[in-house]
């Protein structure tokens, strides 16, 4: 081999090695779940980064998150440079930061470094109250009417540990309608506490009346399963959601078949658009379930949130299921506590130790046509808007509509 040939080979190899160094360097990012913040800018950047990397809806959210950073950074710099911010200023800044985000579970809680007070920002609150049918929840006023309604028997109520109510209404042809209302999805944990003796048995009285003695064992020997009951009503108006553990014994036990709801996915990496594959979202019926001949009616309103909305999706998928009421809140994508360690999305931070906390979803849920209901809510099969005048006159128009549907089929 002559010298010039060797030179050519070395030149080619040199060029190859030169190009091999052309990969971009990795970016260093802090873990937003565990970051101590000593300045307003630090707090802002940590929260911005946590949402940037872990927020579930960047594939469809219309907020320009990079523009939010550019717009808001000078505001927080100014707080640092002038030695602090008032609670009102900080509150306003965080509300501006998260304004328009789709996630209706989300809220941001930040400690004001100067005053030590918390400020909150909740993007759903920029949307839900502006719906033309929006109203506050009138849970207490509505349950107060229950025992006064025509033909009601077997009225039961729980206690302040678990706000729950049950009753029996007359149905058609001498049959009955079993009714249950609860304020939150905490039945399973409450029933466990009762079985451990740490809560009085009366706490789950209405649940046992409706489902049977087991409660977490699905429908056993409760009124819902009796042969003279033609239909059941689960009233989730004003129900703010809670634990997913309740879904199967309380809702899926109302049908004998597996319920196909749609698909779910989660984040799978720190990139905004790093998603897992879609997996089927179906729930087996509970071993102790209704026989499938009874009508199942779910009552919802604009204050039905999270697990209440999932329940509405499930009941809409049941052959004998009907959802009546108003379009729900729109927080349809669930989350699990501690999920950030598993999925690098969802809830992050800790208010007590770190001075910030962000509550946000980590499971995307879509229906069988891949349509998302996040930020929209579940549209009922039969719409019946809340009537404040009726309530003032001692009537619950939505519950009356549900009873009418069961009795008449219309």
């Amino acid at each position: 081999m002559n010298i010039s040939k060797v030179k050519k080979i070395y030149t080619l190899l040199f060029v190859a090695v030169l190009f091999a160094g052309c990969r971009k360097d990795a970016v260093e990012v802090v873990n937003p779940d565990r970051h101590f913040c000593y300045t307003y800018v630090d707090q802002f950047e940590t929260i911005w980064t946590g949402i940037d990397q872990g927020y579930l809806f960047w594939d469809r959210d219309t907020v320009d998150w990079d523009a939010v950073y550019e717009r808001m950074l000078p505001v927080f710099r100014q707080f640092d440079s002038k030695g602090g911010a008032t609670d009102e200023e900080l509150d306003r800044a965080y509300k501006q930061m998260v304004h328009g985000l789709l996630d209706h579970h989300m809220y941001v809680q930040v400690k004001n470094l100067k005053t030590g007070n918390p400020v909150y920002a909740d993007p759903a609150w920029d949307e839900v109250p502006y719906r033309d049918y929006y109203h506050y929840t009138f849970f207490d006023q509505q349950v107060a009417l229950l025992k006064t309604m025509e033909g009601v028997t077997e009225y039961n109520e729980g206690n302040d540990y678990f706000r729950c109510y049950s009753a029996l209404f007359p149905g058609s042809d001498g049959k009955k309608i079993a009714y249950l209302r609860f304020r939150s999805f905490a039945a399973t944990s409450t029933a466990r506490s009762v079985s451990y003796g740490s809560l009085p048995v009366a706490t789950v009285g209405p649940l046992r009346w409706f489902y049977g003695n087991g409660v977490v064992d699905g429908v056993t020997n409760g009124w819902a399963g009796r042969s003279n009951v033609e239909a059941v009503i689960i009233d989730l108006r004003g129900n703010g959601g809670g634990n997913l553990d309740d879904i199967r014994p309380l809702i899926c036990s109302l049908t004998p078949t597996k319920t196909d709801i749609g698909y779910t996915r989660h984040k799978e990496g720190l990139g905004r658009l790093d998603y897992s594959a879609w997996t089927s979202f179906s729930i087996d019926s509970h071993p102790n379930h209704l026989d499938g001949t009874k009508k199942v009616v779910l009552l919802v309103d604009v204050n039905s949130v999270s697990c209440s909305e999932l329940s509405a999706c499930i009941v809409q998928s049941m052959p004998h299921g009907t959802v009546i009421g108003e379009r729900t809140y729109g927080a349809t994508c669930p989350l699990i506590p501690g999920g950030h360690d598993m999925l690098y999305s969802g809830v992050f931070g800790d208010y007590g130790s770190l001075g910030y906390y962000v509550y946000t979803s980590n499971f995307d849920v879509v229906d069988k046509e891949y349509k998302s209901l996040e930020g929209v809510g579940v549209t009922p099969d039969i719409e019946c808007l809340f009537d404040f005048n009726a309530l003032q006159n001692g009537r619950d128009n939505q519950l009356e509509r549900a009873l009418e549907y069961i009795r008449t089929g219309k």
């Binding site: 080979i9 091999a20 990969r23 971009k24 990795a26 802090v30 997913l244 879609w278 087996d284």
Partner: protein, 249 residues
């Protein structure tokens, strides 16, 4: 495997029927000639990504297949300008090793079409050892994902049936950079097994220089593919040799 193949080829083809050895196994007159061929083989791809604080996400290499067409032109005896049209799989696996989600995994199977262009340098006379250096451009044709994930169904009912998935990868125009380019370098051997036929074995390193994601967010860690391929091929020499030029070589 590489060496074994070389030895077998060498032994099988270098001995004549009368027991003597051929004096020239590479065409004696390669200058100014083209060869065209087919190749196939196996590969192993490494998905290079910095997972940051997501430390339980472990990307591991996965095997795949490769096949294609090749063409080479010999302007001088020791140099071949080579162009391939290659189908190359760039597969990888993601595992999770934290306690609660250790069952989760994703196997990504990705099909690419590549056009490598390389300068191939030959060493030796009767038995050719080659080294090539060049680059490639390519396109990410399709992908599949299968594995096991965490599903809401599992959280609610404990039934893991819905945690398994298998899907065609849906490209996202905002996220996915389907254009691929990088370096292609490696080594190989050539052996003439008949008057116009060579068999070859090549080791390729496809060193991706393009991020498989577009730059769609500020703090985005890049992802690259590095693929090693072992290719077995056969090539056919076109035309006749130029005796005059070859004498000079």
């Amino acid at each position: 495997m590489f060496l074994a193949f070389a030895c077998v080829c060498l032994a099988a083809s270098s001995q004549k029927s009368d027991g003597t050895f051929r004096s020239t196994m590479f065409p004696a007159d390669p200058i100014g000639r083209w060869n065209v061929g087919l190749f196939g083989g196996i590969d192993r791809n490494t998905h290079v990504v910095d997972v940051g604080y997501a430390t339980d996400m472990k990307y591991t290499p996965m095997g795949g297949a490769t096949a294609g067409l090749s063409a080479g032109y010999h302007p001088v005896g020791w140099l071949t300008l080579r162009a391939d049209l290659a189908w190359v799989q760039k597969n990888y696996r993601l595992d999770r090793d934290s306690y609660y989600v250790s069952f989760m995994y994703t196997e990504s199977t990705n099909d690419y079409i590549l056009l490598p262009l390389a300068a191939e340098l030959s060493f030796g006379r009767t038995f050719r050892v080659v080294a090539h250096v060049g680059g490639y451009v390519g396109y990410w044709l399709s992908g599949k994902r299968e594995g096991q994930s965490l599903s809401v169904s599992y959280l609610i009912s404990g039934n893991d049936e819905d945690t398994f998935f298998e899907e065609d990868y849906a490209f996202d125009e905002t996220r996915d950079n389907r254009l691929d380019a990088g370096l292609d370098f490696g080594v190989g051997m050539r052996l003439a097994v008949a008057k116009r036929f060579d068999v070859s074995v090549d080791m390729h390193w496809y060193y991706g220089l393009t991020d498989v994601q577009k730059s769609y967010m500020t703090n985005l860690n890049p992802r690259y593919n590095t693929t090693r391929a072992l290719q077995f091929g056969i090539a056919y020499w076109l035309g006749k040799g130029n005796e005059k030029k070859n004498k000079g070589e």
